[in-house]
């Protein structure tokens, strides 16, 4: 199978979705003529024209709200939020409007809006351009949130998100944009709410989000050399969360480590850990560990940023803590 980059897989998903459904349109800053600051929208304007690929002023609240209205009227807008960090200026339209219209209006209005955005640290982009805020969104009933971890997943999850009739946020990770992987040429869908067990193991389960998934796989390889077989689960979506897959794994391995780029305190790892201890208490051989960023904004200096973001070494150390025995 041919290999393409994460960002190309994203573009391809839109290219194919817009061909499949004439109601799909793209709205955002610098998406049309510039092709998007991450080149994620390259070629779309040329293929589909200005009517369907729209450059907006810097008005996230305005154009995401516009997306809500258009979605309520039968279109399938893909609104692009350039950086995940900018979600604050548009938050009302996302959590008070998009997420709630279906419920608040008694069910007659659907909002098939997709919000694409780029999150994550590691590029020295500074505190206001590096955040991972998926836990905020996962907390809102009515929203769906996907964090693809590979080119294959980007395309599949994007297709599912755009076809889904609910407001769905797809968070790309900036550091993974150039990573390559096998991607089928035809259009395909990965169901939202279905975690991916990337690696089977019996000694511990590592539940990873987004960019931490490849880090977890690297860690698993290292741990295997030490004789520890780690099961790696990619949540794929934090809302809906595939708790069943996670719990089934814990019941087999008895040890869990959740890893995400987001700040540990109040991150999605906290929800997962709470669910594990509640539903699989009797199967735990060790406390559930969470590995995330420290409780500070993302620092700019590369030295600090490296210390800030979790990586495979820390995942290895975390799993070792789970497995430790003294004199056994």
């Amino acid at each position: 199978m041919r290999e393409i980059t994460y960002v190309k897989a994203f573009t391809e998903s839109l290219m194919q979705l817009m061909a499949e459904d004439e109601n799909v349109l793209v709205i955002g800053e610098d998406v049309a003529h510039y092709g998007g600051v991450f080149h994620a929208f390259d070629g779309l304007l040329k293929t589909y024209g200005e009517k369907r690929v729209i450059d907006t002023p810097i008005s996230e609240m305005g154009f995401i709200g516009m997306g809500v209205g258009a979605a309520a009227r039968g279109l399938r807008p893909v609104c692009d939020l350039m950086f995940f960090d900018f979600i604050g200026v548009a938050m009302d339209q996302l959590y008070n409007q998009a997420a709630k219209l279906k419920f608040m209006f008694g069910g007659d209005v659907s909002v098939p809006l997709t919000l694409t955005t780029a999150g994550g640290a590691g590029l020295s982009a500074g505190p206001q351009h590096s955040q991972s805020l998926e836990a905020w969104l996962a907390h809102v009933p009515g929203l769906k949130v996907a964090l693809p971890s590979s080119p294959y997943d980007v395309k599949g999850l994007m297709v599912a998100a755009v076809r889904d009739d609910n407001p769905t946020v797809v968070v790309l990770n900036k550091r993974m944009l150039g990573s390559k992987g096998p991607v089928p040429e035809e259009i395909y869908e990965i169901p939202l709410g279905q975690a991916n067990v990337l690696r089977s193991g019996r000694d511990a389960t590592v539940i990873a989000v987004g960019r931490m998934v490849p880090e977890a796989m690297t860690a698993a390889g290292e741990l295997a050399r030490e004789g520890a077989e780690v099961e790696v689960i990619d949540v794929r979506t934090v809302q809906p969360l595939d708790s069943a897959t996670i719990l089934a794994s814990i019941r087999r391995t008895n040890r869990a480590l959740v890893v995400h780029e987001a700040v540990t305190f109040g991150g999605i790892g906290a929800e997962i850990a709470a669910q594990i201890q509640e539903e699989a208490f009797d199967y735990l051989d060790a406390p559930v560990l969470r590995l995330g960023a420290p409780f500070a904004p993302v620092p700019f200096s590369p030295v600090l940023e490296r210390a800030y973001i979790p990586d495979s070494n820390r995942i290895v150390a975390g799993v070792q803590r789970l497995l430790e025995r003294t004199g056994g």
Binding site: G62, F63, M66, G69, A72, R73, G74, M104, F105, G142
Partner: protein, 332 residues
């Protein structure tokens, strides 16, 4: 019924339109009065923001719109819904929180909606619905339709980011939106001269390159004519505009007597009450011979009956079932 005159000599409009304006205003007035009584008597849960006094704006604009033209509304949105043609039974049912309400009891007063008549919902967030109207206009253009979108909002809302972003966006994209500002002189409890330096909200339209009109919001006919001009302009593809209607709400921000903290003088309230839009239209209708007193009274009594029946319907309706609490959180 007296012989209908050919036209109202003061506006050149056909009598049907005048009657239409009148009926819509009476409906709004009675709906709100009854709702206010029920709420302040503790018979309705939550709180209401009553439209009494501003009827001419809703009636004037809605009378010029088609069913497929879309409006968005505010926390003070009963008037818009009624004028757009909402079913009074389902409106009262929603205010009572019943299963038969427009939102199945899940939304309440501030989220009344009826897409079948082009009412894309009222919003509890100030300015929250304005971008939705822009989106509706986008959808219309996208699909090659000539419908128009009309967001309603107050003077206070023109200070919030969502208004500015929406106005600029609509202007830059040339969308068929008529931004209708109901300037009742207060943003909640703060008078206009304390929340903006300009006197006319319409001045803001120029900042976005949009034309605007100012109209007497207590004159239903004037509102109608101005709205018609701007709506037809939009429908013809000439882009968005703003209509500022100077009006006044007779009751408090919330409720009838509300919190009973006086922030408006009785003289002020009385002076606006003397300009009651329904009273003044009725006088014109009689003096121009379009209708006789009995005709007008019949409208009031017919509407009263309809409202009483609607309230009865709502009171008789079932409560929502808690077992269905999770319904419609997501579209399945």
């Amino acid at each position: 019924m007296t012989e209908p005159a050919e036209q109202d000599p003061m506006s050149g409009l056909p009598p049907d339109v005048i009657h239409d304006l009148h009926r819509r205003m009476v409906r709004i007035r009675l709906f709100e009065e009854e709702a206010g009584k029920l709420m302040e008597a503790g018979k309705m849960p939550g709180f209401l923001h009553l439209y009494v006094g501003q009827e001419a704006v809703a009636a004037g604009v809605m009378t010029t719109l088609r069913t497929d033209d879309v409006i968005t509304s505010t926390h003070r949105g009963h008037g818009h819904a009624v004028a757009k043609g909402a079913d009074l039974r389902y409106m009262y049912a929603e205010l009572f929180g019943k299963q038969t309400g427009y939102c199945k009891g899940r939304g309440g007063s501030m989220h009344i909606n009826d897409l079948s008549i082009g009412m894309l919902g009222a919003n509890g967030i100030v300015g929250g619905g304005i971008p939705h109207a822009v989106g509706a206009a986008l959808a219309a253009v996208y699909k090659g339709q000539d419908s128009v979108a009309v967001p309603f909002f107050g003077d206070g809302a023109t200070n919030i980011g969502a208004f500015h972003e929406s106005a600029n966006l609509a202007a830059v994209m040339g969308l068929p939106v008529v931004f209708v500002c109901e300037n009742n002189g207060y943003a909640e409890f703060t008078p206009q001269d304390r929340h903006m330096l300009i006197k006319d909200v319409a001045d803001r339209a120029a900042a976005y390159g949009m034309p605007a009109e100012i109209v007497d919001g207590m004159d239903a006919v004037a509102v109608y004519l101005a709205a018609r001009r701007l709506v037809e302009r939009a429908r013809a593809g000439e882009g968005p505009s703003m209509l500022e209607a100077k009006t006044y709400r007779f009751y408090d921000h919330q409720g009838v007597k509300g919190l009973r903290i006086p922030y408006r003088t009785q003289e002020e309230i009385d002076s606006w009450k003397q300009r009651d839009a329904i009273t003044s239209l009725e006088e014109r209708m009689i003096s121009s011979g379009i209708a006789g007193q009995p005709d007008l009274e019949k409208v009031w009594s017919d509407t009263s009956e309809e409202i009483a029946a609607a309230i009865q319907f709502a009171e008789d309706s079932p409560d929502p079932d808690p077992a269905h609490l999770l319904d419609n959180v997501y579209t399945v």
